[in-house]
């Protein structure tokens, strides 16, 4: 295969753009592995490193702090085994510059930030809450969508078009429009600060209904005619014919629903206040306020909060990307 000049140019462009897209993630991970001190010094941008000065004097090699260099002499503090300034040597000791060496350890990885972030904030609880809410919501979406899509796709009834357009029109209304009124309504239900507020309003997803309806419509009529002759009930057709033939579309909708609930933010932020009910994104936003100066801790928390989604994404990237592409064009 021969590479033309234009091909090389395309690859260079794609790589540059790719770097722009991925650099924030690489930087996030690398910063999460640094000490705060190292980040503040701003010397190692992508690869965490540790720099030490050692003094090779008469008493062997020792770690030191370099205070300054004056001519051919270096002013140092000698450190003991614990990294404290040693009492066996005078402070501001002057030694020949040639005896002091800089040693760089790279990469120098600190996992402390992850441990610290996890200890500071109950992220385990947030993870569990998010998982619980995501899965129950997914089940709810599945049940309401399959049933109504079945009716819209394969049944004739009065007002079908009316209901269909009613559903469609509500899909066009963005969440911020009904956020305040929903808050007041959930307040009268006494649902604020409960899982109900996080789960039940989201157990219906109009987009999923349309996705399923499209698919159910595309199934051949002969299957249903044959089943009817065999005396299969209406629900039996859904259970025995449609669902087994809809595995891939169900998987697609499940991924959308899971990613959607995992990443949802504005609704849980407004509807819950108790720390025990915090979802991951809300917990992360509180952590962002509490630890705003602790850059490396924040980066560690961001890293482990997007990790589950990224793992799922990379395991099934082809299918996920294809689903988004298909769903986008169907609209």
């Amino acid at each position: 295969m021969k590479m033309r000049f234009s091909d090389i140019l395309i690859y260079v462009l794609l790589i540059l753009c790719g770097l722009f897209m991925i650099a924030p993630f690489i930087w996030m991970v690398s910063t999460s592995l640094m000490t705060q001190n190292e980040f503040n010094k701003n010397e190692s941008v992508f690869i965490p490193k540790e720099e030490n000065y050692v003094w090779r004097g008469d008493s062997g090699e020792r770690k030191v702090i370099l205070v300054t260099v004056k001519g051919s002499h270096a002013i140092i503090h000698v450190l003991d085994g614990q990294g404290q300034i040693s009492k066996d040597f005078p402070q501001y000791m002057s030694v020949p510059v040639a005896q002091v060496k800089k040693i760089t350890k790279r990469p120098n990885i600190h996992l402390d930030n992850y441990v610290k972030a996890f200890k500071k904030v109950p992220f385990a609880r947030y993870f569990a809450n998010t998982l619980y809410v995501s899965i129950i919501t997914l089940l709810g979406v599945f049940i309401t969508s399959v049933l109504s899509a079945y009716a819209f796709a394969r049944m004739e009834f009065k007002g079908k078009d009316f209901f269909f357009y009613l559903f469609l029109s509500m899909m066009m209304v963005p969440e911020p429009i009904y956020l305040i009124s929903s808050y007041m309504m959930l307040d009268t239900f006494h649902w604020l600060d409960t899982y109900n507020a996080l789960i039940i309003p989201w157990c219906v997803n109009i987009f999923t209904i349309f996705l399923f309806r499209q698919h159910f419509k595309s199934l051949p009529q002969e299957l249903f005619d044959a089943a009817a002759i065999d005396g299969c009930s209406i629900f039996g057709m859904l259970w025995r014919i449609i669902l087994p033939l809809s595995k891939s579309i169900i998987a697609t909708a499940s991924v959308f629903s899971l990613i959607g609930s995992w990443n949802s933010f504005m609704w849980p932020l407004v509807m819950t206040d108790r720390p025990e009910l915090r979802l991951l994104q809300v917990g992360l936003s509180y952590f962002n306020q509490e630890a705003s100066t602790q850059t490396t801790l924040l980066m560690a928390a961001s890293t482990f909060s997007i990790l589950p989604i990224l793992i799922i994404f990379f395991l099934a990237q082809k299918q996920i990307i294809a689903s988004y592409a298909k769903a986008g064009l169907k609209d």
Partner: protein
Amino acid sequence: MKTKKKITPFIYIFPALLLLVLFRFIPILLSFVISFFEFRVTGIGHFIGLQNYTRLFTDPEFWQSMLNTFWLVLIAVPASIIFPLAFAVLLNQIKWLKGFFRSIYFMPFVTSLVAVSIVWKIIYAEEGGLANTALGWLGINPQLWLAQPKGIFTLMFSSWGVQIPNWLGGPSQALFAIIVMTVWKSLGYNTIIYLSGLQNISKVYYEAAEMDGAGKWRQFTKVTVPLISPTTFYVLLMTTITSFQVFAQIYMMTDKGGPLGTTKLIVYYIYEKGFDDLDMGYASAVALVLFLMILGLTILQRRLEKKVNY
């Protein structure tokens, strides 16, 4: 038997219909109703007619948030069409590593907005931030980014020694920083949509254009751009609607829409009025204005789409 059959479809749509009516339809109507009431910290107050709406006209914060939102849409929407189209055309030319690039571009789209907002906030840190480090490599002075209320055009011209009037200053550098991040987040999604759009264009058109002696650029402008226009309309509509709804970035990356309110966007303003000031009637009026704008744009774009489509 017959009545049973008539009822069956309604049993199937009932769960979805119930939830939709309860948690979409009623709240949407309710937010219209609420917008006619006065609110106090204690809760709902008097009916005040259109006063919440007339108040909008004299509320400088509302107009500023409208202007900020307008800037976001004006920059983010074209950028979300041009770059993804370019990426998709480039990706369509290659075979080796195609899937790899596609995944890399798509990655920001699946990750949570809250987490990447934290990352970008630190990227824009004045000291130690990646943005200023990268500018340093290019020999450009560090910028204030999220702390800079001055307009990007003001900054650009003043770096050339030219003073321009304030009203030509453009969006603040802080808002610009958020726009860049917002475009970055959804770039991959639009690229994928364009890629599948491109695959639907028959090779025949390109072969015909080549026979007529059209070069690559002419093929792009005369074949690709017109034939991809349905995709462009879809991307245009979706990006416009989502641009109007930007919230998490502002909540996470800025200090309440600062500096000097230059990053306060319309949805953030609704949140602030409704949940910080508990002025829910007024917040609902703002939400309804947003709704009408989105509705109007949707109708306008659908109309245009019918006219322009091939």
